[in-house]
């Protein structure tokens, strides 16, 4: 099986005049198809920088990045944009949906900047499909302001899926959500992963990382730990446990 992501000795140095900040120092990571990885680290550990590099939003100062077998380390702005469009799906901490634009239209957005020749109807259908996958089929014509945080994040996940990316990149996807909704969103990720979608997410929450299959820990721009999660949490079980606890506390029926 070929690697979807292959980082070879990646360095990133920010040069802001006098001070040089060495944010990422020689990280090598390999990810296979179907993996579900949590990239962890305290703030300042370089995980955001690494995420920008992985997301083809930025270029490494040194090293090689192969995405789906393509060397993307030295592509220009427009080529990177096309790679992002074709190979990657993004989920952000702050959801980043376009306001005053329906969930369906938000989901369509990546297709609009994609290859030509997709008819409006095909776009509608594909976007609708993705919304159904994340359980928002009945909310397609809602605006973000009419959706709860969890629903907004699920719409964002649908948008990330719509161009059938090689990897779904999630940057602190549960950062703005309460614990229960976080578990629900992790449930969505787990279901998608079961269907074969490769997911890489950044988080600093240990319990959220336990829903993933593999954890990579960064410290001071270096990779310090890379483990398979031994006692993986299953979101559906956790939700059930939570419901039982709530019922016991008479919060719900």
């Amino acid at each position: 099986m070929s690697s979807v992501i292959k980082l070879e000795n990646i360095h990133k140095v920010y040069d802001s005049g006098e001070v040089k900040v060495h944010a990422v120092r020689g990280v090598s990571i390999e990810m296979q198809k179907g993996e579900f990885v949590a990239l962890m680290g305290a703030s300042g550990s370089g995980k955001s920088t690494l995420m920008n590099l992985l997301g083809c939003l930025d270029r490494p100062t040194e090293g090689r990045y192969l995405l789906d077998g393509i060397d993307v380390s030295n592509l220009n702005r427009n080529e990177l944009a096309d790679i992002r469009n074709k190979k990657l799906g993004f989920v952000f901490q702050g959801f980043n949906l376009l306001s005053r634009t329906t969930a369906l239209e938000n989901t369509e957005l990546p297709m609009l900047y994609g290859k030509r020749g997709t008819s409006r109807r095909q776009m509608r259908e594909r976007a609708m499909n993705c919304l159904k996958i994340v359980g928002l089929g009945n909310r397609a014509d809602h605006f973000p302001s009419q959706l709860s945080g969890g629903q907004q994040q699920r719409a964002a996940i649908a948008r990330g899926l719509v161009n059938e990316p090689q990897v779904l990149l999630a940057d602190e996807p549960t950062g703005n959500l309460d614990s229960r909704t976080s578990i629900e969103v992790m449930g969505v990720f787990q279901r998608l992963n079961q269907e074969g979608i490769t997911i890489l997410m950044v988080t600093h929450e240990l319990d959220i990382a336990r829903y993933c299959k593999r954890n990579i820990i960064l410290r001071d721009g270096e990779l310090v730990n890379d483990i398979q999660v031994p006692d993986r949490l299953i979101a559906d079980d956790e939700i059930r446990r939570l419901q039982e606890a709530e019922a016991a506390a008479k919060l719900t029926k």
Partner: protein, 405 residues
Amino acid sequence: MRFFFTIYVALRALRRNKMRSILTALGIIIGVGAVIVMVSIGDGSEAQIEAQIAALGQNIILVYAGSATSGGARTGYGGAGNLSIPDALAMKNEVRDVIAVSPEIRGNSQVLANGLNWATRIMGESEDYLDMRQWPLSEGAMFTEQEVRTSAKVCVIGKTIVTNLFPDGDPVGKTLRIRNMPFKILGVLVPKGFSLQGTDQDDMVMIPYTSAMKRFSRQTFLPFVNVQADDSEHMAVAEQDISNLMRDRHHINEGRDDDFTVRDQQEIADAAAATTATMRYLLLAVACVSLIVGGIGIMNIMLVSVTERTREIGIRMAVGAHGSDIRMQFLIEAVVLSLMGGLLGILMGVSGSKFLSWYNHWPTLISTVAIVSAVIFSGAVGICFGYYPASKAAKLDPIEALRYE
């Protein structure tokens, strides 16, 4: 380039901010509207002036007698008494390009009819005068050559005379008394309204010039003669020929000054044209200023819009939009804004000038050129003033843009 999709995105963004879009376009709307109103008023009055100049008669040359000095006082044109009827007839018969002449004598007199009286202008003219001035009769007929030759006591009258002396109408065939002399009314002239100088052209009685000379002025000379050339191209030649003929007839030696003056109406037309040209330059200046002001308004709002939508730009870039897509999106927004302003401005300008011509009775003429150039210029303003904000948007770094709060 995903052009049509980009237009769609831009239109949607504008629709989402309806009020702001309209206010932004207001500068252009008012500018274009004002220009169209002013151009239509300008064109309307120009057309009116042209019509009035044309109504003075086509290819008319005026030949004035010279001035005379008596006791130190100079008489002004026409006072020298050296322009005679034979001179006038010679102009008609001997100058090739001249097709008609009308010696003219003017005076003022009280006229009476129906027991009413009215002070008015008396004009002595030839039978050709109405054709020369392109002045038709609304009823009756002009006096004939025969009547001119016999100094007949006949006249045609203007509308103002009819109103004041014949309130019951139907004056043709009736008699009108000028200084106690009865004149038979042969016809009534079509109203011409006020002249450029503000005199009521319908307030006059026209009689054969021979009658005027014999019965009122009691003079044998003419103050001036209206001459009509056959073609505007021949005006200069005709004027030269008339001049030569008159020098010859008046025995003026080489090197001595003319004792007459030949003029044409080109001067009046030139003056009118100069006025309109000045007006056009002023309009152009106003148009430029208002379009620039409107454009600055658009640039301002586009800059605000780019800042406000930094995150949106970041999202679009993250999911694969090129810089050029973003630039095109904002550029199209600016162009749509200004074009929309232009179109609304045209609507406003056209209805504004219609209203003015209805309410103030100003002559207006909607100019297609003004409308077409308004559209072109407002589009150009959109591109010029939208380019900088759009480029600014296109150059944003997606990482920074996504992080923007």
